[in-house]
């Protein structure tokens, strides 16, 4: 081939020049746009929410499908009963070893770990942990371990979000915010309930229903749900018959279901935590082999009652359609409580979200059957009670009552179920709260030596208001008081600033140090009004108003304002009339409200040093 053969004809080359120059001009513009996107946090958050939702959705769908494929190979149709003993035993042995040696953070459910990552580890979940969780849970769940896939899916989703955010070089705060976004996407794909996933991310993971990440969570959840539907179609997770209230007396039965659900939930949580405590007392060298106890136990149970193995959603489907007799419902409910407790406590990979649903469905089915025996003709099919029971157990075990109501509503798409569901859920939630103070995920984290901030604490620390630390204002000095007189009065003052008023009311705060400086400069005959005018003139406030706070503002805002203005005392004024002084707030008062010991001494020392 000659050089001429490979050369472009002249006219063709001429045509490529503009294209090439267009490409050259296009690239910087594109890079500039990307750079702009990077700098606009709000836009970046939205784009990342969609991307993370799609990626997490596709990974979780793969997680579900791979678990199913592996399970169908481990348990082929017509396979012998011995498989049911061997598979979970071997599965737990493999995952136990992997967790011990390779993926130490892949143990357990994943929800406490996700919360720990957000509140303690600055949003960091490693790629290794994410991959480990995926591999271990696929192996564990496919082998028939009686745990669920939703908790691990949340951990995987949060892990993907963390890895993606860190790869993109986002700040720690941004990484932290993206974890619940990934978690919600994962739950949406794993449980096919996008709205409940949003609520779960806010209610359980963040513990804050007013979190500013709501928009991002909604976007990611919806995107993941779309991916799920694109791949697996419109098939619902559970097939439920239309619900209807047969007779008003059923509401009493639903209340009874709430009691049964609450007690059952507490029993399950206490058994699980108790067993886990016992496993924790065993020598550290046995940690890798401990999951085998759970695997063997569930294998032996599964040999006689195969339905107790795995996630068990097919059995939930059966009880929802009313195709299960009372004896089977009771047996499965009791065995599942034991199987899940031992599997989780022994350190297998998998969650309790799905098993909670299973246990709830069985408890509901049981109450439904009994109600039908006692009140034939006045009660709905036991399947309806099983459905409500699912939400009840979820409210009792996971302690997210709002999520549980919306979740069941999403499963049924039936508005009429809301009232009985709420009655039952609230009773179960109340009983569970009374008899088991610590919610399960917090208790599990506690056992792991992690002290997660409770929702109550976070709520309280955010909601501490200035009115809780306000103190009565000292008598204000008149605006026309000379600096000499003022200094004489303020020399022994416990505060570094003092209110000043004119005939119409409060006009501002003067620093004792400013008064002293004025006197030292020979301006002792000037008035406090003059001093305030100078301060106002040099102030950075946009409105020209004096620095102040209102009593309904958070304490954190008072702290921030003290930092901005270098005042350790702030006036608290009325919202209706800023000239009306309601009181003052001091730095020691703020610290005391936050529970800082000996705040007075700290501040006194600081004051002395400062002055």
């Amino acid at each position: 081939m000659t050089h001429n053969d490979t050369a472009y004809p002249r006219d063709m080359t001429a045509k490529t020049i503009p294209v090439s120059s267009a490409a050259v001009s296009w690239l910087p513009r594109f890079l500039q746009r990307i750079e702009n996107l990077r700098r606009r946090e709000d836009r970046l958050a939205l784009v990342l929410s969609v991307l993370i939702g799609a990626l997490v959705g596709s990974v979780v769908v793969a997680f579900i499908l791979l678990t199913g494929r592996l399970a169908s190979h481990i348990y082929p149709a017509g396979g012998g009963g011995w498989r049911r003993i061997l598979a979970p035993t071997l599965g737990s042995l493999i995952t136990g070893y992997l967790i011990f040696r390779v993926f130490p953070d892949a143990r357990g459910s994943g929800i406490p770990q996700t919360r720990a990552a957000i509140f303690i580890h600055g949003g960091r979940i490693s790629l290794r942990t994410t991959v480990g969780k995926f591999v271990c849970c696929v192996t564990s769940l496919a082998s028939g371990i009686a745990l669920g896939r939703e908790g691990p899916a949340v951990h995987i989703g949060a892990g993907i979000a963390s890895v993606v955010a860190r790869r993109l070089g986002l700040s720690k705060a941004q990484v932290k915010w993206l974890l619940p976004v990934g978690g919600a996407a994962a739950l949406s794909a794993a449980f096919n309930t996008p709205i409940a996933a949003v609520l779960f991310a806010l209610e359980e993971i963040m513990g804050d229903m007013h979190s500013p990440i709501l928009g991002s969570v909604v976007l990611s959840s919806t995107t993941a749900w779309l991916v799920l539907h694109l791949v697996l179609g419109d098939e619902p997770l559970f097939h439920v018959t239309p619900y209807h209230l047969v007779h008003p007396i059923e509401l009493v039965v639903y209340a009874a279901l709430g009691v049964v659900g609450g007690l059952g939930s507490v029993g399950f949580v206490k058994l699980l935590l108790g067993l886990r405590k016992r496993f924790y007392r065993l020598p550290r060298s046995t940690v890798w082999v401990q999951p085998v106890v759970g695997g063997l136990a569930v294998g032996l149970l599964g040999y006689f009652v195969p339905s107790v193995m795995g996630v068990g959603y097919d059995q939930v489907d059966k009880v929802l359609s009313g195709d299960m007799v009372l004896r089977v419902v009771v047996t499965l409910g009791i065995l599942k409580i034991f199987a899940t407790s031992i599997c989780y406590a022994s350190g297998n990979a998998g969650g309790i979200f799905g098993p909670s649903m299973f246990i709830g469905a069985m408890m509901g089915g049981m109450v439904g059957h009994v109600a039908r025996l006692i009140l034939p003709g006045s009660t709905a099919d036991p399947g309806a009670y099983a459905l409500v029971g699912m939400g009840t157990a979820f409210a009792g075990i996971i302690r997210t009552p709002l999520t549980s109501v919306i979740m069941i509503f999403e499963v049924t798409r039936d508005y009429t179920i809301i009232v009985p569901l709420m009655i039952s859920n609230m009773i179960a939630f109340y009983i569970s709260q009374r008899l088991q103070r610590e919610p399960i995920y917090e208790a599990l984290a506690h056992q792991d030596g992690i002290h997660l901030p409770t929702g109550h604490f976070r709520h309280r620390s955010r909601s501490l208001l200035i009115m809780e630390a306000i103190r009565a204002a000292p008598e204000a000095l008149a605006e026309d008081t000379t600096l000499n007189d003022a200094l004489a009065q303020l020399r022994d003052s416990p505060f570094r600033s003092w209110p000043v008023a004119d005939s119409d009311g409060f006009v501002g705060m003067v620093r004792v140090s400013d008064v002293a400086a004025g006197v030292a400069n020979g301006e002792g005959l000037a008035t406090l009004g003059d001093l305030l005018a100078d301060v106002r003139a040099s102030a950075m406030t946009r409105t020209g108003e004096f620095t102040h706070v209102h009593e309904d503002q958070p304490l954190g805002q008072a702290l921030a304002r003290m930092g901005d203005t270098n005042h350790s005392v702030l006036p608290v004024v009325s919202r209706a009339n800023v000239r009306q002084l309601l009181g003052i707030i001091t730095l020691p008062d703020v610290l005391k409200a936050y529970g800082v010991e000996r705040a007075d001494q700290i501040v006194t020392t600081e004051l002395t040093d400062d002055e």
């Binding site: 990307i34 750079e35 596709s58 793969a62 791979l66 149709a77 993109l168 018959t241």
Partner: protein
Amino acid sequence: MSDNAGAVRAGASTRVFVLSFVAIIVAFLVMLTLDLSLAKIERLETASHAASLYADGNTLLGASRVEDAIDRFGLAVTLERDSAKYVVGLGEAILARGEPRQAEATLTPRIEADPTDGALNLAMARVLTKEGRVDDAVSYYHRAIYGRWPADRTLNRNQTRSELIDVLAKAQRREELLAELLQLQDVSSDIAFRKKLARLFLVAQSPTRAADMFRAILRSSPADPDAYAGLGEAALARGNFRTAQADLRIANQRRPGDLRIDSVLTIADTALYLDPEDARAGASENYRRGLRFLHRTVASVTACSGARQIPAVRVVADSANALDRALLPAATRDAQNDANLALSARVWKLRPASCPIVTSGDQALAMVHAAMAQR
């Protein structure tokens, strides 16, 4: 210089950012491809498993192992909820267990989801027929006939109509039966099918159409005894007893010993023996037949009424006996014959509706009365 270094650093970090973005999108596409492949494999395996369970179910149902069949069909439905075929199988197995209400409950949600599916509507029609709800069943048969059949549409529709015709014939709903038969009369040239259709025309009380069909059958199969018998029955239904007798005799010769033909022939013979308006018989013979006809009518009605003899019948019976004994001159015979026949008709009307027509004699009597009412 430092500005340049800053710009270079910013450019490098933007490139990393862009590459990370691209990596995320590529990762998503890879996972999506994996998902779609896995989902496809799973769907194929599930469909194959469900089909095998369905086949097992049909085999077990054929072997009357209904419970096992229900189990297999149930599993197939669980695997492939969208398949109407499996729901139909399950419904029919439950019906075979003798639980039509349960079968109806199984089929209802699926029909609500897909109201135009032919097979589902047919299954529901069968269930309702079993429940004795013929009106509802007929409605579902029609929905099946005009519904959607993925394959062999015409064949399935004709078979459904044929099944509907059997239901209507059994329920003696003659007008609806005739309407359905008219839709089917030209769909097939199969002799057995046409014979069945012609017989059903007789059930639908359309002997002329039945006779036409039997004649058409005889043109393509001239020695067919069934066609002759059918032709005879059609003639019998039209009151043409002599023709009926002739056709039935041919049928009897072609297939001697056929109980059905023998029985219908006996009816035709009796009817002809009683028919007082036979054009080929003379006036005196018709008069005798008229008297015989009157006596048989009175006897039948009296036997039927039993101990609770209706006074009016008793009076008529007495006058009939009186008539029998009287020897009338030929001039008044025709008028008297008319009077006898009118009397017979009046007596026959007194016959209780609940009175069964069991014997061939009664059947012949009823046919003669029907024929005379039409003449």
